[in-house]
Amino acid sequence: MSTTSFLQDLTQLLGARLHHRPEDLIVYECDALTMFKTVPLAVAFPETTAEVAAIVRTCQRHGVPFVPRGAGTGLSGGAKPVEQCLIVEMARMRRILHIDLDNRFAVVQPGLVNLHLSQAVAAEGYYYAPDPSSQMACTIGGNVAENAGGPHCLKHGMTTRHILGLEVVLPSGEVVELGGPEPDAPGYDLVGLFVGSEGTIGIATAITVRLDKQPESVRTFLASYARMTDACATVSDIVARGLDPSALEILDHLTIAAVESSVYAAGYPRDADAVLLVELDGLEAEVELAAVEVAAICRARGALTLEEARDAVARARLWKGRKGAFGAMGRIDTDLLVMDGVVPRHKLQWILEQVYRVREKYGVTLSNVFHAGDGNLHPNISYDGRDPEAARRVMAAGEEILRLCIECGGALSGEHGIGVEKRDLMPLLFDPPDLDLMLRVRDLWDPRRLCNPEKVLPAARSCIEARGRTLTLDATAAPPRRGAVEER
């Protein structure tokens, strides 16, 4: 590859919408997983599908890897650059192309911020259900790539349930239409395959999403507990009673302290060991009945306090602490590793005990904020990334927690994706033939492996097998170097 001719070709295509000066590239060296960094060769800002296709074809011609990127809020390094790659930044493709409320769908460009779609249809009584905590910043294209979740996917489903169709620029540069607003598109469910493929099999350039009617009624409760086990038991009871809450979120003591000392302060009781946020939505009469039962369960499980949001302002306040929890962790230390393991719901209490044991074992600062209703943990480890020893311990603690999740029937990631962060742990969850099949599916779409390479799947069959045999906890392994160009 000649870097000069590659950049010349792209400049001819994009003009000033190609950035390649070193000072313009620093911000793209990582996404919200700051542990791994690589400065890209350049960043392209396409505005049309045709431009994306032309960029991809140019990359193919020059053999340059390309990494699609939305807002860079991903927590698993899915948008982390690889060496000498082009970042395809979708931020300028952020228009809503079409809204059809009767048929309950919208067609949007991938760079549209998640929350902006709900805001655009709110006055008509509709919304877009998937609501990752970063929804004020993250893009729908990124959500599609990661199959993003959010607190309310407990009831309303992950992103994949809300994506009806896609226009995709394939790694070859060809543009294809997959699915659409009409049901039962002929052929295999390529939309289902694409969602959650972490940008490794193409770049979505237009997305047809399902819109839902806003619920008639929403009720939000905050219960505080002297013991985390009581909060977990409350969750079990609510689920077992079939109350179908739209969100069940728990924050532990350390998280409460961080939130309450930050700009995200929500009025959570500082003396509680855990707080539980319960939200119910649906028909007013139905929610009213469920609310009575939820309140009774919270009290029966020994809630210290039980507060209900009386209006939208109070509801927003209660959610502010939950949605700002990751940001509030910045008060604890300079760096944060947000983990994303999943366990069967009935193992929730067990895994929390294990997580706190791991915290003691490695001497790390670990707080928990998690989607209790679907068993999706977010142990957050705060650390000073400038301290190699600290980073080493964080990595080892994180891996041990994920191993425990898998041991009890869970998974590596509930909503953040595998990315680079957990790629090499995939053999813990899948056998070599399982990973080999995924790799062959990937190679079908992207035989040269130029489209977001080095993500999700260990690179080669030999590597998969070797990892499967030899992956062990190794607290003495060299830590990733922070701030430097990684993964050369």
Binding site: M158, L170, G192, D244, L289, S413, F430, V441, R442, W445
Partner: protein, 413 residues
């Protein structure tokens, strides 16, 4: 190609090989009478059957109880049916997790029985047939008439194990309700009619059973139905299903049905409000009416089943197109808010298919499938992208598993 059935019996056991007989006249013609049906009793035997097929270059029709045999149309030339109906164990059921892991041959009724005892169910309504298996229903992406609120089995499958055409086995997805670890390969298998690989084990999400249900009915001219349905669709009622039924021999009139599910008092209030809004009635006994709706897409000896699609609220246009082109003996059931419509077109009216297709093209509808032994495609639907066929070739390079699926749509692209 014919082969010696005894060779299968040799490793499966004598009682594990049958000759297919159509369970009813409606199924006659989907397969040649006497087609060999292999009935392995465990995963190893499934693998052995597929390795045998690979060695002998035989084509296989993956199946469960074969109650969904008609879905996807005639399977084409195959050498034997591989039915997993004897792999029928529920492997794990954790009511607290609202999840179940089951072998592919477990019947939907067994799942309903087991989960129902804990007040739970699979969200898509169970197939009314007695023997339909989980594997078959997932392969056909079964939904049910409450699809607008429950989704299809696509949305319920969390993970699976499959056996491939070469007899190897892989796993994808998981058992937990939230999981983005690796490619979502189960999405490819669901709805693939077994043409990529065979489910042997499936993990599904369950939901709480509603406390009560009620069905509201009104009969009115088709021309008025659309506005009535749109008003309800836009309003404050939350039906689990809005169905339009066009019955044979009824001139111009259709039956609208709204189903409500949930808490008893809420369902009652919603149904009564809907009945007032429609000028209709809450059915005192709705089970038979609803079962007829659920069974509408089943094959009949004297009619061919067509599956149409449109935008979610465009189904009245589909029904108008059917009424105008297919004659008065045609029956149809459409799901408003979903965009699907199944049609029972009398064989005597088969010549109206071409006119129907032309008419559909003018109203934004499309003919998705013809589920009939004689259902030749008059004109193939939109050609599928080459990726679809490359995917088939990746999973099943020698095209052994349900080889004819989508073959009609293979174009030059």
């Amino acid at each position: 190609m014919s082969f010696d059935r005894e060779r299968l019996a040799g490793f499966l056991g004598a009682g594990a090989v049958e000759a297919w007989q159509p369970p009813s006249a409606a199924f006659a013609g989907f397969l040649p009478v006497g087609t060999t049906v292999a009935l392995p009793q465990d995963v190893e035997q499934v693998q052995e059957c597929l390795r045998f097929a690979a060695r002998e270059r035989l084509r296989v029709l993956p199946a469960g109880s074969m109650e969904h045999l008609h879905v996807g149309g005639v399977p084409g030339a195959i050498d034997f049916v591989l039915s997993l109906r004897r792999l029928n164990c529920v492997l794990e059921y954790e009511p607290e997790d609202l999840t179940m892991a089951a072998e592919a041959g477990v019947t939907l009724h067994e799942i309903a029985r087991r989960s129902g005892a804990a007040g739970q169910r699979l969200a898509p309504s169970p197939w009314p047939g007695v023997a339909a298996t989980l594997g078959g229903a997932c392969a056909a992406n079964r939904s049910g008439s409450c699809r607008a609120s429950t989704g299809t089995l696509r949305d319920a499958v969390l993970g699976c194990k499959v056996v491939h055409a070469d007899g190897s086995m892989t796993r994808s997805g998981g058992k937990v309700v939230k999981n983005v670890s690796g490619y979502d390969l189960p999405k490819l298998y669901v709805g693939s009619m077994g043409s990529l690989a065979m489910f042997t084990e499936i993990n599904v999400r369950l939901v709480p059973c509603p406390e009560a249900s009620a069905v509201v009915q009104v009969r009115l001219p088709l021309i008025s139905a659309r506005n009535k349905l749109l008003t309800t669709h836009r309003g404050t009622l939350r039906p689990a299903a809005l169905v339009v039924v066009h019955s044979p021999g009824v001139h111009g009139n259709v039956q609208l049905l709204a189903r409500f599910e949930g808490r008893e008092s809420v369902v009652r209030a919603q149904a009564e409000a809907c009945a007032r809004e429609w000028g209709g009635e809450v059915l005192a006994a709705a089970a038979d009416t609803w079962e007829a709706v659920e069974r509408h897409a089943e094959p009949r000896p004297d009619a061919m089943v067509l599956q149409l699609a449109s935008l979610p609220v465009g189904v009245c246009d589909l029904l108008t197109a059917v009424a105008d082109t297919c004659g008065n003996d045609t029956s149809a059931v459409a799901l408003f808010g979903v965009g699907t419509c199944s049609v029972q077109l009398p064989r005597a009216q088969a010549s109206s298919l071409e006119a129907l297709q032309q008419r559909l093209a003018t109203c934004g509808g499309s003919l998705r499938r013809i589920e009939d032994p004689g259902g030749e495609w008059l004109a193939p639907p939109a050609q599928l992208p080459a990726l679809q066929f490359e995917l088939k070739a990746l999973f099943d390079p020698e095209s052994r598993l349900r080889p004819a699926l989508f073959a009609h749509a293979e174009g030059e692209s």
